[in-house]
Structures are given as C-alpha cells and as structure tokens.
Symmetry: C2
Subunit: 157 residues, 2 copies
C-alpha cells in the first residue's frame, strides 16, 4: 500500500472528485444549477418539514458551520425558507418552497443518471458491492469525523 494508487484515502478523494464533476455536469445539462451538497440538503428538508439546522446537519452528515452557508444559498435561490421556531427562539425551522418542490422533482432523473454514470466502469453487481463496502466502512468510522451521521429513530435498519 506504499503506492499512492492503492491508498484508500487517495482513492476516496479521487472518487469524490469525479462524483461531484459528474453530478454537476448532469444537473447542468438538465438546466439546473445545484451542487450535490445543496441537493442533499433540499431533499432532506423536503422529507422533514420544519427540521432545524442541527438535526438536518446530522441527517446528511454536514458540519454545523457548513450548513449555514448551504441554507443561505438555497434560500437565496428561493428553494427553501428559514422560519423562527415558536418553541425555541434559538432555532430556525426549514421549509421547502413550492419552487423547491418543483426543482427537486424535476432534477431527480439527472441525479439518478449521475449516480449510474460515476460507476459506469463497474457491472451492476460490482456497483452494488462498492456501495455495500463504502457503507460498511463508513458505519465503522462514523464518529471519527466532526460531522457524523445522526440517523432519526425511524430510519434505523
């Protein structure tokens, strides 16, 4: 493993680099301007109306300081709105707008195409195995990053 080409860390960076490039290309070809990070946040807000930012960050494993800017840009594009919480005045509730819903629906085919394209060198069985192995490795190392995944109780497997 002395060779760079065999180091998991190097390959992780490279695969992520390609994944982002493929995502952006497919989404732009479909006529949208949304990053992978913005898409994940938008989808999570759609699935969890009135979620607060910290809980959202846990759901998609973002750092809490990163989420602020992501939501800023989604709000500026008119896809989500921030609303003050009645229960806790520190907290902001996040809601998807009608335009956000339309965008999310319209963009989904491009997102799925990107997922296939980034593993186009693999057979379907190999792609499934790659997903399984990444999930397993990630699960065992979840707490090693500052932004671990925090699944909702209903989402356990």
């Amino acid at each position: 493993m002395t060779e760079m080409r065999d180091m998991p860390g190097h390959l992780a960076r490279r695969f992520q680099q390609i994944a982002v490039a493929v995502f952006l290309a497919e989404v732009e070809a479909a006529g949208f301007d949304l990053t992978p990070v913005q898409y994940a946040a938008l989808a999570a807000i759609a699935a969890n109306p009135a979620i607060d930012q910290i809980t959202l960050a846990g759901l998609i494993a973002y750092d809490r300081t990163t989420i602020t800017g992501v939501i800023d840009r989604l709000a500026q594009k008119g896809l989500v709105v921030r609303r003050a919480s009645a229960r806790d005045r520190r907290s902001r509730e996040l809601l998807i707008t009608d335009e956000g819903k339309r965008t999310l629906e319209a963009i989904t085919p491009a997102v799925e195409a990107a997922q296939r394209l980034m593993v186009r060198g693999l057979s379907a069985a190999e792609a499934n195995e790659l997903v399984r192995l990444m999930r397993k490795a990630i699960a065992a190392a979840n707490d090693l990053s500052r932004a671990p995944l925090r699944e909702g109780a209903a989402e356990e497997r």
Copy 2:
C-alpha cells in the same frame, strides 16, 4: 437507489470526509501538521525531482489552479523549493528539501496507519476489494473531472 444512503455520490463524499479526518488525526498525533493533499504532493515531488507543476498536478489528479496554493504552503513550511527552469522560463521546477525528506520519512507510519483505520470496519479481503472497485470506477470515469490523472509512461500497468 432513491435513498440517499445508497447513492454512490453521497457515500463518496462521506468516505472522503472520514478519510481526511482520520488522516489529519493520525498525522497530528505523530506531531506533524500536513494535509492529505500536501502529503501527496510532497511524496510525488520526492519521487520526481525537478517536476513542473502541471505534470505534478497530472500525477496526483489535482486541478492546476489548486496546486499553486498547495505548493505555496509546502514552500512556506520549508519542505519544498520552487526553482526557475532553464529550459522553459514559464515553468517552475519543484524540489524537496532535506527537511521535506525527513518529514516525509517520519510521517509515513502515520499515513499508513490512517489508511488502515479508515477501513477498520472491513476485513482485509473486503478492504482490498473496495480498493479494486474504486480504482476500476475511477479509471473508467477519469476524464469526467477537470483534473484527470495523467500517468507517466513508466507507471502504466
């Protein structure tokens, strides 16, 4: 694959996030202050003395505009030096310093430990398979990113 947890792109981001965190933690514990990107560049310069920045970028798949800042920081730490090329006055030759060599040697155990730690949830066979699948997927999609890998002729396999 509608679920985020099964999307290769999401897993790629998450795995990379963990890989970086593990790398930084191991390297810091060993008493050094070097990012994964800086380490890869330093190792590539050590293996290819007097390499220019564009060729270096191709060897480790960095964007040409990213390499400038990375070399800036390596130079500021005294690990590499930039030297004007005699052949082509546009080009800068990169050389590792003695301190760079010492750092590279001393840091290697921590880097290798990090590689093992980021796949600690996998058996050795599974880790090898993950590396194989990532390499295969990356090879097939290499040209889809702005910073493709450009291997030297002697490094083909």
